[in-house]
Amino acid sequence: MGKTKLSGAKALVRTLESQGVEIIFGYPGGATLPIYDELANSSIRHVLARHEQGAAHMADGYARATGKTGVCMATSGPGATNLVTGLANAYMDSSPMVAITGQVPRPMIGNDAFQEVDITGITIPITKHNYLLQEAAEVPHAAQEAFYLASTGRKGPVLLDIPRDVQTEIFAPHQAKYPSLEGYRPTVEGHPGQIKRAVSLLKTAEKPLIIAGGGVSLAAARDLLVQLADTTDIPVVHTLMGKASFPNSHPLCFGLVGYHGRVESNYAISNADVILALGTRFGDRSTGPISTFAKQARIIHIDIDPAEISKNVPSYLPIVGDAAQILQQLVALVSAARHGDWVAELRRLAEQHPLRGKNSGVGIPNILRILREMVEDPIIVTDVGRHQIFTAHYFPIDSGRSFITSGGLGTMGFGVPAAVGAKAGQPDRVVIDIAGDGSFMMTCQEVASAVTEEIPVVILVMNDYCLGMIKQLQDSFYGKRYESCRFGRNVDFARLAESMGAAGFRISEEAEIAPTLEKALAADRTAVVDCVLEDPANVYPMVTGSSLQEYVE
């Protein structure tokens, strides 16, 4: 930052540039115009969303696809509150994100001014940290700090709320303020003693198991995990967030665990004697009923966040630190082992309990099967619902950062904007959003953003004209009383897409699946495929009892 005086807005944009920000997803308003005015002279690209929630999910999708910190921006008041779902979503899934909001001028704060809302107050529970800037001289350091906090330790969203008169206030660079972060010291390296204990515990185990969570991807530790599993011959299961943390086609990968987990992986959890849990917070969707979870196992819990240790599941041996660092430490110490009987037992079970989705007809499993054969190494994004679990089961992912889903918050409407963000960050990859008709309608306006910004994504709307997961729950637990889960059949998603400038397609017969998907993938612009499901099936396995061992498949 030079010697000349500069405004808060200019200082912000310069700091963003110096942090390596290439793209901001946002929506302007009265309280952010000084920043937009500065962006016009910047190398940073601004992607104009159609709703601030879309901008937030785009930044989140960008972060998940690239590993870089995603940035979104909204104006004060309603602009800021529209970010809330996106922030909560990023917070629950530990996605690194910086959100910038405009605020009313300082003298008006607290007076219920036009478009004023206490966004720092609102977002305390759903951000890693937030700032209400009091003067322009704080801007450079606070913005730097926001990026540092978002991208280190347990990653997460950080919000900068900047009053409009702070954006226009002029200050001299030497006045810039540098408070310190005394209280923020994330542990990176694993305690050597604990590492040694973990190694000997794994050595004595007869039925060891690795649970891979989203933290493995966040730490870019995927290859190290493969190395550990290969050396020690330990089977691996994954959470929904951990789907891209281990190659799904690896012979030691036994698939999704938890409430909708595979029979063999849930069996593995219930019968393992030592579990190495890596970067997972034992969320309730992954554990199923907690009182019966992994009762035979001594659990080694590796997590960057000390507060996750023994929060949900008591851990026998905790190791706090960065998953990549700890895996490196482990890989250096473990010796080669074989667990032939245990692995064979799980394989036998896997053979006895194949996924039962049909390989014919216009159904989600069949569409995903055909799609897989057509496209090599795509980034798959999902929305939330039945199609999400189907995708987790029926679309193997073998590359890192290639499965993007709303795991913790379960945000319907995440898919379309997250796919746009992912594609913006990985323009050379094919990005496909698997959506449901309910989820798609929540943020379908972002198709217009994808078209105007020339960020082409492919969206498959698994259309059963109903809220599939709700219907499934009503099937199982509410005596098939289908209250408020059915939509009318009035929306034509292909025409809706075309009206926004995208390519629109419809599949209603099996013979149309392959040719239509081919056209959509070759469209070279954003394409929406309305897949009218002829036989909307429920998604199984599903845990129905008081342990992972009681399920319907």
Binding site: I124, G183, D305, A307
Partner: protein, 164 residues
Amino acid sequence: MRHTISVLCDDTPGVMTRVSGLFSRRGFNIESLSVGHTELPGKSRFTIVTTGDDTVLEQVRKQLQKLVHVIKAWDIKQAEAVEREHALLKIEVEDKRRAELLQIITAVQARIVDSSGSIWILEVTGDAGSVDNAFNLFMDYRILESIRTGKIALERGPSRVMKK
């Protein structure tokens, strides 16, 4: 079980909301909370009394420690600390019971900090038990208003949380 947690943090706007909000949103209980400046410039220190088993206490402490403005959050063991509460009581004094009241005031080491006619304001300081005790004794008189601070606590011995 009752625990006392000490929290040293940056004295910044909103830090109180961050600390107290964490308790309510994670379902932790606050029995009392007091906060004030310390010998360290720009730092505040909370003393929070909470209830729960050891697992809950450990979660509270770790979640507090995660707040960016929190420098240290730790459990204060009762046996190793000096604890104090402060109370003010406004009492209406009948002439015929004045002598008896003065005796109690002496016995509980309270002080009369204001008197306007028959209305006195008494000040009581001590650990939670002795303040409770004083309140019990003053119950017999006409208490017009009373107020208690939360507990504050310091560990005995040379330990210090942070050097200047």
